[in-house]
């Protein structure tokens, strides 16, 4: 494998107190997009700022394309790293117009040429007519895209995005996200996106690194972290999940939903993770539940269920055109293999 785009090894940052990042390792392949996903305060932004060169870690190395940028307290200055950094608020320079912001990091001679600006605006999906606007005359989504264009203008090999979409409303967020992804792909930049939004991480990245309390709990493909979480916590953080006690023997497990297939063999007391979309509702059968309430969401619906004769509460995601009514009796099947975790 060629040199990794970004290689972080043993990174520890403490700000003089308990570690915010604790022995963190991360490899991002050249040209790849990795999402660092975690609850707020888990250390995601600190990791990003360390890669950008704004933070001096206590220990650890950061390499980009084989070049050592950070080695313990020894740093290459941020401006010498060739790393683009886009903050949540965009941090556009208020005294410069859009063109002035985009060409800010270019050599003086290139700054004069307006020709630089137009392709970059188009790259991030903005009209070239915005070039003379001031930052305060732009919407939040436009500001974000200008900030991205500004970072891309220097053709960095690495782009760091710190929750760049979180301040945008839903419609704008999807559009800005698509424009950003397309622009990054066009440039082939190695990208690290920090976010606390699971859907964003899963849809944007080809690798998702889940961070809890300054450590990575799992680093895998989006399907991997969602479908095969390393711990129950990761499973729950990435989406709705029911954790049921069960007894595993080889590739099957018995629990309150009957005998289910396991994706990985296991033995003994386990926690079975079932996602709401894995429950298939049908005619009453061996496993029957009564519908206690329904939340209709258009394309699909969340159905809350109570197993007959038991107190276990379940949630099923069903297609929007096949929604049962509260009080209905339905049978539950789990046709796809499920994951299990050893009971602790």
């Amino acid at each position: 494998m060629s040199a990794a785009g970004i290689s972080v090894t043993g990174l520890t940052v403490g700000y003089g107190g308990p570690p915010v990042l604790d022995q963190v390792d991360l490899q991002v392949r050249a040209g790849g997009i990795t999402a660092v996903l975690g609850p707020s305060g888990s250390g995601k932004t600190t990791l990003l700022r360390a890669i950008a060169g704004f933070i001096r870690p206590d220990h650890g190395r950061i390499e980009v394309r084989g070049q050592v940028l950070t080695d313990g307290p020894t740093l290459v200055a941020p401006e010498r790293r060739g790393i683009g950094y886009v903050r949540q608020d965009g941090a556009l320079f208020p005294h410069l117009d859009v063109a002035g912001n985009i060409t800010f990091g270019l050599p003086r001679a290139e700054r004069r040429r307006a020709a630089q600006v137009e392709p970059l605006l188009e790259l991030v999906g903005l009209s070239p007519s915005l070039a003379r606007r001031r930052p305060d005359e732009l919407s939040g989504g436009q500001q974000q895209r200008v900030a991205l264009a500004r970072a891309l203008a220097r053709e960095p090999s690495v782009v760091l995005l710190d929750e760049p979409f979180s301040s945008l409303d839903t419609a704008l967020r999807a559009a800005t996200r698509e424009a950003t992804r397309a622009a990054l792909a066009a440039r082939g930049a190695t990208t690290v996106l920090v976010t606390h939004d699971q859907a964003e991480a899963l849809s944007f990245a080809d690798q998702v690194a889940v961070m809890f309390d300054g450590r990575f709990a799992q680093i895998d493909s989006p399907a991997g972290v969602y479908g095969a979480p390393a711990t129950p916590e990761v499973g729950r953080f990435l989406g709705d999940a029911m954790l049921l006690s069960g007894q595993a023997v080889g590739r099957t497990v018995s629990c309150c939903l009957g005998r289910l297939d396991l994706a990985e063999p296991a033995t003994g007391d386990v926690l079975v993770m079932v996602r709401p979309e894995q429950l298939v509702l049908g005619e009453p059968s061996d496993t029957t539940a009564s519908v206690s309430s329904v939340t209709y969401q258009g394309a699909d619906a969340m159905v809350r269920l109570e197993l007959v004769g038991q107190t276990t509460r379940l949630v099923a995601r069903v297609p929007g055109d096949r929604v049962p009514h509260p009080g209905d009796k339905v049978g539950i099947a789990v046709p796809a293999p499920v994951r299990s975790f050893p009971q602790r």
Binding site: R56, V76, P94
Partner: protein, 533 residues
């Protein structure tokens, strides 16, 4: 490791060179302050409090003499006059300032933009110039009544300015919420709007009161003696250290008392806006049939505070020009030395304020806050106190600087530095650390960031601070009378010596020149209202 500010680093090592440990931009809070900046800020703070210490020291050294001097009936008269003036004038300025601000910012009164300018404009006319204008036609304007009349008209903009800015910024959403929670219209104003306005109103009232304690020109013309006029008279009849310093010490006590009084009055209201929603523009109160009386009231106010003094000064100026009484030489000389002193004071105050402002910006800490606050204490004191203290200091310890421009510039710096401090702080706030980081990540060095990001963002505010100090200096009278270099007349002192002899014609050119010089102040201050969002 070298403790240097990260904006002044040497260029970093290139990738292939061996990298050496070096400081980089870090999060806003840092404990390692650059010692040279701290030392500069401490030095400035020490110079700022020195005059206060001198006055207090002088007064306490006079011992038995002190009680004899202080317990004279004369002292009681001065104290009574001073308090009477404050107690009568402050409520009037509150009424005028808040009333006008409400009419302009929250009602359907036509011409709000023009009123904003016109109601601030009296600040461009020094109070002693408008008292000269009024007495030149109405000799009856004198004594306590005249003093209250002139000072209220001259100082109500100190209340109008913050009240208008806050009323403009008041979130209609808060008032609507109060109404929906069952408050009446008046109740919403009293329970929601007033607590938010209180800091501005008490701040404005404090400013008026401090100016009244410091006022000399108006009260001298009105023949209404207060502590300030008495101190200057002592100084004029033969400099008596003990008596002058004692009166000054009483003045210091009154100032400190006012400052202390303001703290509980200001209240603990914190005006924080929750949520990210856009602020609701205020709904204007419909004046209806009251439009005409309300407009008439503002016309009357602007008439007596601005138009009458302006017209009278112009009339005397025309008279002076037609009678050939305008002596160009001395006028130009006075204008030149005024501008020279004011430029020096503007520069000195800007430079002196920078270390503490920079510390607060990059290394916010209790020490930095304390170093900033100290500068406000000294400048709350009347010019006469600062002037007297510097005279005492120079006569005893630094004879060569006595009656030089340096000492006068020092006095102006002590008096007016907060204007530069506030300007630096708002300017630096426009360049938050995020922008510095963005610049670094876009490939600029520390120096490049300073030149291309920090300076363009900070300079406009810094320039405003310079201009405010310049304008304040160019019409300063009391400290200038005490400290002006020998043989130098400023516009203010030249005006003063002419008007002291009731020579209205000879005074007019100087008065007109001061008004012309101060006019830009109105525009600068008007922006402070409009910038409130």
């Amino acid at each position: 490791m070298p403790a240097s500010s990260d904006l002044r680093e040497s260029p970093a090592a290139a990738y292939d060179e061996p990298v050496t440990p070096r400081p980089v931009a870090r999060a806003r809070r840092s404990t390692r302050m650059p010692w040279i900046v701290v030392a500069a800020a401490v030095l400035v703070a020490a110079v700022m409090v020195l005059p206060v210490l001198v006055v207090v020291g002088q007064a306490s050294a006079s011992g038995d003499e002190a009680s004899r001097l202080l317990l004279r009936p004369r002292t009681a008269e001065l104290l009574g006059n001073t308090m009477l003036l404050v107690l009568l004038t402050v409520p009037i300025t509150l009424l005028l300032g808040c009333g006008a601000a409400w009419l302009v910012e929250r009602t359907t009164l036509p011409g709000a933009g023009a009123w904003r300018t016109l109601l601030l404009a009296p600040l461009a006319i020094p109070a002693f110039v408008s008292s000269y204008a009024w007495t030149s036609v109405l000799p009856a304007v004198q004594g306590l009544g005249g003093a209250v009349f002139i000072t209220a008209l001259a100082y109500y903009p100190f209340v109008f300015l913050p009240a208008a800015a806050l009323l403009r910024a008041l979130d209609q959403g808060h008032l609507d919420a109060a109404r929906s929670l069952g408050s009446s219209g008046l109740g919403a104003v009293l329970r929601v709007a007033m607590p938010q306005l209180r800091p501005a109103i008490t701040g404005g009232a404090l400013l008026v009161a401090l100016h009244l304690l410091a006022e000399f020109g108006v009260l001298q013309m009105m023949r209404f003696p207060t502590f300030t006029t008495a101190i200057l008279q002592q100084f004029a009849v033969g400099f008596s250290n003990a008596a002058g310093s004692l009166l000054a010490a009483v003045l210091v006590v009154l100032c400190v008392g006012l400052l202390a009084l303001e703290v509980p009055l200001r209240g603990r209201a914190r005006i924080a806006r929750m949520g990210a929603g856009a602020r609701q523009r205020p709904v204007a109160y419909r004046l209806g049939a009251w439009t005409i009386p309300a407009s008439a009231a503002l016309v009357a106010l602007v008439g007596v505070a601005l138009v009458v003094p302006l017209v009278l000064v112009l009339r005397w100026l025309v008279l002076a020009m037609t009678s050939g009484a305008v002596v160009v030489g001395p006028l130009l000389a006075a204008a030149g030395s005024t501008v020279g002193l004011a430029v020096l004071a503007g520069l000195a105050a800007s430079v002196a304020a920078l270390p503490a402002a920079w510390l607060l910006y990059r290394y916010p800490s209790r020490l930095a806050t304390a170093l900033e606050r100290v500068t406000y204490v000294a400048s709350a004191l009347p010019g006469v106190v600062i002037g007297l203290a510097l005279v005492t200091l120079a006569v005893q310890w630094a004879r060569p600087v006595y009656q030089t421009a340096a000492l006068a510039v020092l006095a102006y710096t002590v008096l007016f530095m907060p204007r530069a401090m506030v300007a630096w702080r708002s300017g630096l706030a426009a360049a938050p650390p995020e922008l510095l980081e963005a610049s670094r990540s876009l490939g600029l060095s520390g120096l490049g960031t300073l030149i291309r990001v920090v300076l363009p963002l900070v300079l406009p505010s810094a320039l405003t601070g310079f201009v405010l100090v310049f304008l304040a200096t160019s019409t300063e009278l009391t400290a200038t009378l005490l400290l002006a270099p020998t043989g130098t007349e400023t516009l203010a002192t030249a005006f003063w010596s002419a008007s002291d002899e009731l020579d209205y014609v000879a005074s007019a050119p100087y008065a007109a020149a001061m008004i012309a010089l101060s006019a830009p102040l109105t525009i600068l201050l008007r922006r402070q209202i409009l910038d409130q969002r």
